[in-house]
């Protein structure tokens, strides 16, 4: 099971631009490597990452094998209201990993 690390400030002033960091443990198997038996290891990467703020999308990405293992993203958003920032990573098997963080905006 993938482990995710996210970094969202717990508190912010309304209108502040905050930095969000997200990292998930995932091999990001490219599909170009050969295993010990000489056969190609099938591709298994996270191909989509979506971040929502109280349900509204604030950032997303389409990913390719050139993204390093344990994909890391950092981006910014404007603190508008208290609520939940949700992260979703989807891999080639269609499996989704979810993580959320709460933010208090005053």
């Amino acid at each position: 099971m993938a482990r995710a690390l996210i970094n969202v400030p717990a508190k912010a002033k309304r209108g502040d631009i905050i930095e969000i960091k997200a990292l998930i443990s995932h091999p990001m198997e490219t599909g170009y490597r050969t295993g010990t038996d000489g056969a190609l290891v099938p591709r298994d990467i996270i191909n989509r990452f979506i971040c929502t703020y109280n349900g509204e999308e604030i950032f997303s990405a389409d990913l390719f094998p050139a993204i390093a293992a344990n994909p890391f993203f950092s981006f910014t958003t404007t603190a508008t209201e208290s609520g939940r920032i949700a992260f979703r990573w989807i891999d080639d098997r269609g499996q989704a990993y979810l993580e959320t963080a709460e933010i208090a905006v005053e």
């Binding site: 631009i17 950032f59 990405a61 390719f64 050139a66 390093a68 890391f72």
Partner: protein, 155 residues
């Protein structure tokens, strides 16, 4: 005097042909993006629009020891208002197996057009970042870097 081709001759020809085929396979095996395939990927992203240099800053170390994880930051000079913001940022490379690296979708709520990630590089090459603004224009920046230990060699 008619001379029939002997079985030995045919088989030698076959072996040579098979050998040539195998050689072609070996050469074709590490499929690589090329500057041409990167240009094609960029064309697929921008359509027919012009890509101008400027407004985008691509930050990536010029000398990389380990190609498996290379930090990369893209900044775009944009006010990020509802009228004028960065819609998408795409990263391309020349010499990995695929020319695409990532495509980021932004919106005015981002406040800054600033994205960081970590990428893999199979060789020393040029990296290109292209930003699509809300007015439909495309801006780019390019960085050349040297990789001493490329990704994809450990196995």
């Amino acid at each position: 005097m008619s001379r029939k081709p002997g079985p030995v001759e045919t088989s030698r020809r076959e072996i040579l042909a098979a050998g040539a085929g195998a050689l072609a396979l070996i050469i074709a095996r590490p499929a690589r993006a090329t500057p041409e395939s990167m240009a094609a990927a960029i064309k697929a992203f921008v359509g027919g629009a012009d890509v101008r240099e400027g407004r985008v800053i691509l930050e990536i170390p010029p000398l990389v020891e380990n190609g498996n994880s290379v930090p990369l930051t893209v900044k775009v000079d944009s006010p990020m208002t509802a009228q004028d913001y960065v819609k998408r940022i795409a990263i391309f490379n020349e010499r990995n197996p695929q020319p695409n690296v990532a495509l980021f979708y932004l919106n005015p709520r981002a406040g800054h057009a600033l994205v960081s990630t970590r990428i893999r590089l199979g060789d020393s090459q040029n990296i290109v970042a292209i930003a699509q603004l809300s007015d439909g224009t495309f801006w780019s920046d390019k960085a050349e870097l040297i990789v001493t230990l490329p990704a994809c060699v450990e196995s």
